[in-house]
């Protein structure tokens, strides 16, 4: 939600605007020569990269210069408007670049002192590169307005600013000043009405409250991000006679200062982003003048009640983001009859969305302009009532569990500019009425269950729409190829829509696109050349998961480009030098990497993420990685790369995932890789690598989570150093030539021993653009199959040492790895017995000990392995009875063959006397004594009962004949039947209990 603040200083802007128009109308008053010279000198010392001050030239009337305003009578320069306004948060990087580029720099020349009548100086949002505020500013005695916010001034604030006794307005916020020890100098500013010292470290300036409290005219005080804590000297009587606006946001307050509650005249309180604990205090209930209250992002206790809200009927803005609200919220809305902005996003509000809409329609149907309840637990359907909020401009309900259709009445929200309902369970289609919202600028319906066909007509009135995010729905959009869209979208998300097979022709007219997702949309064929020639600069481009073909010579996109899962061919495309994330995996790109990576004029320079997995790359891995120091993720797996691993890989000091699996690499792992200390995932599996497993892995790569050296030609022993990897969750050394014993110290692999609970998702996420998270993946062999684990990688635990030449016993220490889910020691030369405590590995899902030389019995503790779904002990020398357990008997005999085992599921009986094995006992009645029923007796009793019933049977017939023949016997017959039947069954039961 855009910040809405109440400022009482709008009038200053009005004055400024008046003067501008006045000035323009009286351009015949020329500026004073000395002042012109002063301005030109001032300009000379500025750095003006974008040439903003091009109108400041010799010979021109300086009163006509951009940003200069003169007194219309005297010609004196009165105002200098050289500030910039920063773009909105959702602006594209290009807009940000333009903004940054137009900042003035350099130094501020003291020639400004010549401007004796200067009363207004605004240099905000320029960049004076860490200089100090020039001392002479304190001599500009006429100043009433001084704005130096966000100008990158540093060092200390000059105390002589305190001489500017005429100042009404002083904004020094958002610079990089040193810690201020005192604010005593502020006490000289006796006319001050507005003071902003945000971002100044006031943690030791304990006089801030005392000093500002004494400013007789102070109306607004902004001390955001000043490291304020609750250590105020408590002796001060705080009265702030005229204070209306108090901003203490982003400080370190652990409680709300109680003096705030005595300032009954306060109109606006901003305490967001502090560290306030405990329940939300009731003190606010007496502050009936409040129009703005933001308590967001504090650590209030969930037991806070909101009854204090009931008195605040002037309140226009209420911010309660992430304050731990639970359950019902609609009842708290009650009397907030002036409410225009409500933000209660990121809480645990758990009720029907219609109840909140209903409450809001009672209090503030006409006033409400902005409503944000995103990321709560709202359920139910969107009510038709929603359409009655005529002035609603901003509505966000994303990240709830709202189901049903988007109501038709949404079309009545004629003021709506921003609509976010992503990540819900909305179904049906986009209502036609939504297309009537002519003021709509942003529409995000992504990640819902919307379906149906969208026609061109739908968009014909959405002329102001610039952001349309609708990915991950089941919608179809196939406009007429000649359709020319009436809009210019900046951000387009149509992922998972049905758009194909033709490449969307209408994109050709979109000049402002910087974010485009048309992944998984069924488009095929060659990308039209006009697409690559679009003047637009893509910061996010996702064409993945289509059937696109052909060669690509150049990728113009900056930041993120994803072409993975297509059928692109030819050499790797040249990438724009500022590309950060490049995904080309699962294509048919061929040739070598060296031109792409090593050509000094075309090499990418800002790559953080390079994924070319599963292509047809060949040749050696080039040795020029020293150019790619920002690389964090490199995936070259599943290509035909050959040769040795180049030494320059060792310069990738930021790398966290290195995947070279399934190539033809040979030689030893270069020891220079020990410098890659941030590695989480190292996958060199399925190559021809030789030598011993490097001991430095355990000494240096201490962050490793996944170490996969499977299917190589490594030999010698497993170094004990591996045991030092206490983050290691998955170790795969299978299919090598490793000999020796399994290190007992494996029990130190603590990441496999301790329980980790994450919400989900539990992966290693890397932000790929705002709100877009990429999870590091690892292809792992577990449970007898190879799968990619990504969003759940933090939960994966396993050891695979299969098909080596390991000898000795299975160390009982493995039984300490309580979180181990997969253990594969098959195909070795292991001897001895299976340790009993392997059965203590409660979460074990997969256990393969097959094809070794193990003897003895299968430990009875294996019956406890509830989660076992893959189990193999075949081809050992195991003996005895297979323990009983629901899981153990669920595997077929092939899990057990090649041993001397007996009992189910294999057919060999356990007892020598040929007794039928009692399969019926299975695992269901574990611990219950086994059946000792003698079936001879059972058949005897059955015979008895049969004979007995032979006698009673006629009575049944009597019962059925009774209407015809024995009406008189009827009553007696029934009684006899019941009597005999009951006795018979009782006898049987009695017998069966024997």
């Amino acid at each position: 939600m855009r910040a809405v603040t109440i400022s009482l200083f709008g009038f200053l802007l009005v004055i400024a605007a008046t003067i501008i128009s006045f000035c323009d109308g009286n351009s015949n008053v020329l500026c004073i020569e000395s002042e012109r010279q002063a301005l030109l000198k001032f300009k000379q010392h500025l750095i003006d990269r974008s040439n903003r001050l091009s109108s400041w030239v010799e010979g021109e009337d300086c009163c006509e210069c951009l940003g200069v305003l003169c007194n219309n009578l005297t010609g004196h320069v009165k105002m200098l408007h050289l500030g910039l306004s920063s773009p909105y948060e959702d602006a594209s990087y290009a807009e940000w670049d333009a903004y940054v580029g137009s900042k003035l720099g350099g130094e501020i020349n003291p020639s400004l002192i010549e401007l004796k009548h200067l009363s207004f100086l605004d240099l905000s949002n320029n960049d004076f590169g860490g200089l100090a505020i020039p001392e002479f500013i304190g001599s500009l005695k006429s100043l009433t307005y001084l704005n130096l916010s966000s100008t990158n001034f540093q060092t200390a604030i000059p105390y002589n600013l305190g001489n500017l006794s005429k100042l009404h307005y002083l904004d020094l916020g958002h610079n990089s000043f040193f810690e201020a020890k005192t604010l005593q100098w502020v006490s000289g500013l006796s006319s001050l009405q507005y003071l902003d010292l945000s971002d100044v470290d006031l943690s030791t300036a304990t006089d801030w409250l005392q000093v500002t409290n004494k400013l007789p005219s102070l109306v607004e005080l902004h001390l955001s991000d000043c490291y304020l804590n609750n250590n105020d000297p408590s002796s001060i009587t705080v009265n702030y006679t005229s204070l209306a606006v108090l901003d203490l946001s982003s400080n370190m307050l652990s409680s709300i200062p109680t003096w705030i509650f005595s300032l009954r005249s306060l109109v606006s309180i901003d305490l967001n982003s502090n560290a306030v604990e405990g329940v939300i205090p009731n003190g606010f209930q007496n502050m009936s003048s409040l129009k703005f209250l933001d308590l967001s992002w504090n650590s209030f206790s969930p037991s806070s009640t909101l009854s204090w809200l009931s008195n605040l009927n002037q309140l226009q803005f209420l911010g309660l983001v992430y304050v731990g609200l639970k359950g019902n919220f609609s009842s708290a809305i009650g009397n907030l009859s002036s409410l225009t902005h409500l933000d209660v996003s990121r809480n645990g509000i758990d009720q029907e969305v219609s109840e909140i809409i209903e409450s809001l329609s009672r209090c503030c149907l006409d006033g409400l302009e902005s409503l944000n309840i995103a990321s709560n637990k709202l359920s139910g359907h969107l009510p038709d009532q929603l359409g009655q909020f005529k002035n609603l401009a901003y509505l966000s309900l994303s990240g709830n569990s709202i189901s049903g259709p988007i109501p038709f009445s949404i079309g009545k929200l004629s003021s709506l500019k921003f609509l976010y309902v992503a990540k819900n369970r909305l179904n049906a289609t986009l209502p036609q009425s939504l297309g009537q919202l002519g003021n709509l600028e942003h529409l995000d319906v992504s990640n819902n269950m919307l379906e149906g066909n969208i026609s061109e007509m739908f968009f014909s009135n959405l002329l102001r729409l610039t952001v349309f995010r609708a990915s991950n729905n089941m919608l179809t959009f196939k406009p007429n190829p000649s359709w020319i869209p009436p809009f210019q979208w900046k951000s387009i998300g149509l992922g998972n829509w049905r758009l194909g097979p033709q490449f969307p022709q209408w994109l050709q007219c979109q000049r402002n696109m910087w974010w485009l997702d048309i992944s998984h949309t069924g488009i095929s064929g060659v990308i039209p050349t006009w697409f690559w020639n679009l003047s637009t600069s893509f910061e996010y481009l996702n064409l993945s998961h289509n059937q696109l073909v052909g060669e690509i010579s150049y990728l113009p996109g900056s930041y993120v480009t994803d072409l993975s899962y297509n059928l692109f061919t030819g050499p790797l495309p040249r990438a724009s030098s500022d590309l950060n994330f490049l995904f080309l995996s699962k294509n048919l790109f061929s040739g070598s990497l060296s031109n792409f990576l090593c050509n000094s004029s075309t090499k990418p320079e800002a790559l953080g993420f390079l994924d070319i997995e599963s292509n047809l790359l060949s040749g050696e891995i080039p040795d020029c990685w020293e150019n790619q120091r920002m690389l964090e993720v490199l995936n070259l797996g599943n290509n035909s790369l050959t040769g040795k691993m180049p030494r320059s890989l060792g310069s990738l000091r930021n790398i966290i995932s290195l995947n070279l699996r399934k190539n033809n690499l040979f030689g030893e792992v270069p020891s220079i890789l020990q410098h890659l200390a941030n590695l989480l995932i190292l996958d060199l599996s399925e190559n021809q690598l030789t030598g011993s497993i490097p001991a430095w892995i355990g000494d240096k790569l201490l962050s490793l989570v996944v170490l996969n050296l499977r299917s190589n030609k490594f030999q010698a022993y497993i170094p004990d150093q591996i045991c030092a990897l206490n983050s290691l969750q998955f170790l795969d050394l299978g299919y090598n030539n490793i000999s020796g014993a399994i290190p007992k110290c494996f029990c130190n692999l603590s990441a496999m021993a301790t329980i980790r609970h994450y919400g989900f998702l539990a992966g290693f996420g890397v932000a790929v653009g705002p709100g877009n998270i990429f999870y590091l993946g690892a292809l792992l062999v577990m449970r007898g199959r190879e799968d990619e684990y990504s969003t759940t990688l933090r939960l994966v635990t396993g050891i695979d040492l299969s098909v080596n030449s390991l000898t000795g016993e299975i160390p009982k220490e493995l039984g300490n790895l309580k979180e181990l889910r997969s253990l594969n020691l098959s195909g070795n030369l292991l001897t001895g017995q299976i340790p009993e405590n392997i059965g203590n590995l409660e979460v074990l899902e997969s256990l393969d000990l097959s094809t070794n030389r193990l003897h003895g019995e299968i430990p009875s503790s294996f019956s406890n392995l509830n989660f076992l779904n893959h189990f193999n002990v075949s081809y050992n020398n195991l003996t005895g009875k297979i323990p009983l357990g629901t899981q153990l008997q669920s595997f077929d005999k092939f899990s057990y063959i090649g041993n001397l085992l007996c009992g189910p599921p294999i057919t060999k009986n356990c007892s020598s006397d040929g007794e039928t094995p009692d399969v019926t006992n299975g695992g269901s009645s574990e611990g219950r004594h086994r059946s000792k029923v003698n079936w001879l007796y059972v058949s005897m009793v059955a015979g008895f009962v049969m004979g007995f019933w032979g006698v009673v049977a006629p009575l049944f017939f009597i019962r059925s004949w009774r209407f015809a023949y024995y009406k008189k016997l009827d009553h007696i017959g029934d009684k006899l039947y019941v009597f005999w039947a009951t006795i018979g069954i009782r006898i049987w039961k009695w017998y069966s209990m024997l």
Binding site: N473, G759, G765, L795, N866, Q887, Q889, W949
Partner: protein, 213 residues
Amino acid sequence: MAPLSLFSLFPCFFLLLSPAISTNSEGNALHALRRRLSDPTNVLQSWDPTLVNPCTWFHVTCDSNNHVIRLDLGNSNMSGTLGPELSQLQHLQYLELYKNDIRGKIPKELGNLKDLVSLDMYGNRFEGEIPKSFAKLKSLRFLRLNNNKLTGSIPRELTTLSNLKIFDVSNNDLCGTIPVDGPFAMFSIQSFENNKRLNGPELKGLVPYDFGC
């Protein structure tokens, strides 16, 4: 300028709120199951609905065609109910839900799981009747429903399950008589004990099988 600081790695503990991404009906069925179950010990935390298929979810086993063939959730401290969506796991062979606190009726739709070999629901709080539809489970070898609160009679249709090797309905509240045909000829009396209203072996033609129900 692109904000490269976004490269930073961070732990992702948040709940993903979009369930609609998985296009896989088996994944959807399991996700629906997850929503019905309360999982205090986080046994199901790997069940990420955004994945293409559920084969990397723990306690779920797939065959080589990525069809779910096992669901092993015995002794997992879970409570809640089951729903009809489980029948979408068309290739399921092992459904192990034993020793939990699952209540409600056993969905009759489980009878559509044609490949089911083992159905273990013992040690829960299931109530209602044993679905007759189980007679369609022609591959079924293990059917353990003991230690629940099941009522009604044992469906006679189950006698056609020629592969049934283990059958246990002890410790319920079943009534009527015990079938004697088909595989029931070999089940021990322990499989039926502690059902107060269960009245001994069936005597066909003499007593209705649901006598006393």
